[in-house]
Amino acid sequence: MTCSRRQFLKDTATTTLAAALPVSTMVFLTPGELKAAVENKKTRWTFLVDTNKCVGCGMCVKACKLENEIPYDAPVTRTWVERYVITKDGEAHIDSPMGGRDGFIDDKIRDEVIDPKDITKAFFVPKLCNQCENAPCVQVCPVGATYQTEDGVVLIDRDWCIGCGYCIMACPYGVRFFHPVTKTADKCNFCYHRTSKGLEPACVQACAFDARKIGNLKDPDDPVAKTIATKRVAVLKDEYGTKPHVFYLGLDENVR
């Protein structure tokens, strides 16, 4: 094959241009822009659950479902309450009927009658989205429909979600579910519409026992931030490295 000098230069120019075309769709940040994006964060929403205080009334679950328009009788919920009853033989009896929506008004656990004399300890554990710093659910989304806002909350773009369910499988805490009406993935977002208006999340407001609290980790005067800094708190499934931001006071080893 022969090639003139003119033709060679021409081809090189064309190829370079064609190859550079896809790069034009990318966005490049200057170091200054990047720094601004990182340091402008004034808020990091975080949650504190005191399992010593929870009595399992389930008002938080009811309030959450009504506030966030989650179909009331569908077996899905953004927050739920688990009951743990530990008996003398070391066994943990766990249940959460309808996510604890109607409270725990029966002493039977999954139709099993437990003799009160055999119980060594019993407690209720409210659960909700951990708004992880390293959220696995966000990593797996193939379309960019779920993301972390600058105040740390993980949101779902209902218009953009294709309902593939990867995120539901990825969450180690099982907080995500398929919303039967919107046909998208759904989960707790710390009531983003309320926190951004200066209100407490619906579950926090509904709790009559102060078992659920929300706070700003970036604010040193915030009572929740102070508690997390000074008291002995634990998170769920720390070993997964997801850096969850729902902290628990009085968490038992039986809670998974």
Partner: protein, 156 residues
């Protein structure tokens, strides 16, 4: 160059261009990296405002107290003072304009959420005043005897 090489090449280039043009029109302008990480902050920015605009249902007791001063006052002296009005009266969104009357949950189940006897040691639930529903006036609503705003019978 031979035609059988060029033709698929042009086709491929054409397809790429087509996809890029389609992408330009289909992807919203505010879709991109908004934050410090491509992994966690690649999203449509206007969705944040869409979530902020989601309607609030539970208004909180302070709003209730503006009109229902008496009822607010009565419960604030009782052991039920920590309980939000809307826990029993229902979310007050749209009240009083669109929703004239809120439906009060007077069911036994509502009271039993806290007051069903669960004899749990070292649990706050075990310390609550509880009843075994089947054995305690099971044909009546609790409010027949116990005023929810002042539940202690001795105080009456």
């Amino acid at each position: 160059m031979k035609n059988h090489v060029l033709r698929p090449l042009w086709l491929a280039i054409g397809l790429v261009l087509l996809i890029m043009v389609a992408r330009h029109f289909m992807v919203p302008e505010d879709f991109g990296v908004h934050g410090d990480s491509f992994t966690y902050n690649y999203y449509r920015l206007s969705n944040v405002d869409e979530w902020k605009d989601f309607p609030v249902k539970y208004q909180g007791r302070e709003r209730c107290s503006k009109c229902h001063e008496e009822n607010f006052e009565s419960i604030s002296h009782s052991r039920h003072k920590k309980i939000q009005c809307e826990n029993c009266h229902g979310p007050a969104a749209g009240h009083p304009r669109e929703v004239k009357q809120l439906v009060i949950d007077r069911s036994r189940e509502q009271c039993l959420r806290c007051h069903a006897l669960l004899d749990y040691p070292n649990s706050r639930r075990g310390m609550m005043k509880g009843v075994v529903s089947e054995k305690h006036k099971r044909k009546f609503e609790c409010s027949k005897c116990h005023n929810p705003h002042n539940p202690n019978l001795e105080d009456r």
